[in-house]
Amino acid sequence: MTDSERVSLEDVRRVAELSSLELTTAEEPHMRRDLNAILDYVAQLNELDTSQVEPMAQVAEVLAASQEEINVLRPDSVVPCLDRAQVMVSAPETDGVFFKVPKVIER
């Protein structure tokens, strides 16, 4: 498999579906090319041998002096919430109490 074939058109359609994106048939090959280019770029990392390196999802813990210091926790005490009127200003649709969205049937 050559690098440019990492992502198939099928993959593009599946990822678009999962992302709730509608792509036109003209957009699909473009998206495929872009995704392959990105993956090729990231694939450069494969030149390094990481077999002896622990996976790390985010870097905050390298600053911690001890295991315990890695934890960032907050006390269980209530902080005032936002005013609903202020929140609903940004809602695309509302009756002032609820957010309203187009009818959802399937989960």
Binding site: V79, R84, K100, V104
Partner: protein
């Protein structure tokens, strides 16, 4: 559409069900999992929200330390191994009540694993494994009906969004709907004792999904499973599983194949329905949550949390049987909630006969509570009152009939037993000569029974006691009466 299946017992017996349960439990913290909004049921819609739980750009989650404590306590109570370093992950899916577009959960490194619960079965105690217990956040609430534009609009309340949850996943060790029911009952009881949740199913603080499949007996490989959702009581889960097992066997016996799918329980019709969702829809693309560091629960912290562990129901029952001479059944009833058990023990410690206190609760108190539609916490008669009544009965100062009357009055007037007793204190006949006179009359009226007694049938004495008690309108001192009847009959 499946029809209500009717499969003969012989055919049912050819198959073995395999059941696994996933239970979501809301934690009783003051605030949400990742922000300081109040974690409270029933607030006006969309008032307990902030940038974090609304998923506004740039807002960052910070984990609630009490949620960690509660989740760890629950893990330990369920005999799980708590992982020193667990990792939060994003579970990605689109739904309007999930504003971030992902749920913060745990995936390949959950907080705890390898636990178990012992459940009673007809063949003795069975150990049901717990695969994992992980932390996550709840979603908001979608309201599909009840508004004038509900035909075209769904209403969303995000108050629940970010409520701390633990998800407890069982091993596929469960083989019958009854075992599933017992597992859930025990699980709820343990969680209530640890006080990490109120486990209120009506308010959704405990929710259960069931995975169920069937396979021919003797076959190693599992059959294709269906997931049953939308079940809001343990009894309904049992009914849903019974229905689903029969449905699947019917499908297989009819030459068909069980489809892997999600099915919803309809309590009114007593059956499950396929949700007909697209098979490949579930692809959550989990990845480590970059906004949260790993969660560390050190062995020291774990030991501190373990210190808070209360005596759990199983151990408490065993101890109460030993300490108070109760039956297993008594202990079962009395430990139904921690508060109930605490109250009982406080009363029993001072009572002359704890066993009698237990009996009174089981017989006189619970039946009256049930008739009045009251919970134990609402009982007009306190545990102390029950203990006093038990002592009076034990000392023979109160006949069982008198006791029943006083309990009736207490319930009628919503007064505690000591108050009622003080006022209505029954006139007891403690004058021996008066009682003897009544005994003489009963003996004279029942020569046949006297003959039986003197012929060696000593149990007939109870007949005379009963008759005299009746004649005295329940007012004869029972201790004295017993003694005098035997003396008279023997003379």
């Amino acid at each position: 559409m499946a029809t209500a299946a009717i499969v003969s017992p012989e055919i049912m017996a050819k198959y073995e069900p395999v059941i696994g349960l996933e239970v979501h439990v809301q934690l009783l913290t003051e605030t949400k999992a990742f922000c300081g909004c109040a974690n409270k049921f029933g607030a006006p819609p969309n008032t307990n929200v902030c940038p974090v739980c609304l998923g506004l750009p740039g807002a960052l989650p910070v984990l609630n330390e009490r949620a960690v404590e509660f989740a760890t306590l629950a893990s330990l109570a369920l005999h799980c191994q708590v992982r020193e370093r667990s990792i939060f992950a994003r579970k990605n899916y689109f739904y309007p009540d999930l504003p971030k577009g992902y749920q913060i959960s745990q995936f390949d490194k959950p907080l705890a694993e390898h636990g178990w619960i012992d459940v009673p079965t007809p063949n003795g105690t069975k150990r049901i494994g717990i695969t994992r217990l992980h932390m996550e956040e709840d979603a908001g609430k979608s309201i599909h009906d009840g508004f004038s534009d509900s035909a075209t609009r769904t209403y969303v309340d995000l108050n629940r969004c970010g409520t701390p949850l633990i998800e407890i996943v069982s091993e596929p060790d469960i083989r019958t709907p009854d075992e599933a029911y017992e597992y859930l009952t025990r699980l709820k009881e343990i969680l209530l004792y640890t006080a990490v949740s109120d486990c209120n199913m009506e308010e959704g603080s405990l929710r259960c999904d069931a995975n169920v499949s069937v396979r021919p007996r003797g076959q190693e490989k599992f059959g294709t499973k269906a997931e049953v959702k939308n079940v809001n009581s343990f009894r309904f889960i049992r009914a849903a599983l019974e229905y689903e097992i029969e449905r699947q066997i019917d499908v297989i016996e009819g030459g068909g194949r069980v489809v892997q799918e999600t099915r919803l329980w309809n309590a009114n019709e007593g059956r499950t329905y396929s949700m007909r969702s697209k098979e490949q829809a579930h692809d959550y693309r989990y990845f480590p949550e970059p906004d949260l560091p790993p969660l560390i629960v050190s062995s020291i912290r774990r030991a501190e949390i373990a210190q808070q562990m209360p005596e759990l129901p199983e151990a408490r029952r065993a101890r109460m049987v030993a300490d108070y001479g109760l039956t297993e059944q008594d202990a079962q009833t009395l430990t139904a909630t921690r508060a109930f058990a605490d109250q009982f023990e406080a009363a029993a410690k001072t009572a002359k006969s704890p066993r009698r206190v237990a009996n009174l609760i089981q017989s006189e108190l619970t039946s009256r509570l049930k008739a009045a539609g009251l919970e134990l916490e609402q009982s007009p008669i306190s545990m102390k009152g029950v203990a006093q009544a038990a002592d009076l009965a034990e000392e023979g100062k109160l006949s069982s009939k008198q006791l029943k009357q006083l309990f009736d009055i207490a319930f009628e007037k919503s007064e505690d037993f000591p108050v009622v007793y003080e006022r209505e204190k029954p006139q007891q006949i403690t004058d021996a000569s008066e009682i003897e006179k009544m005994i003489d009359e009963v003996i004279a009226a029942n020569p046949k029974q006297v003959e039986q007694y003197r012929g060696g049938k000593k149990t007939v004495a109870a007949f005379f006691v009963g008759q005299v008690m009746k004649a005295s309108k329940g007012q004869a001192n029972p201790g004295l009466l017993n003694e005098l009847v035997v003396r008279k009959l023997d003379s």
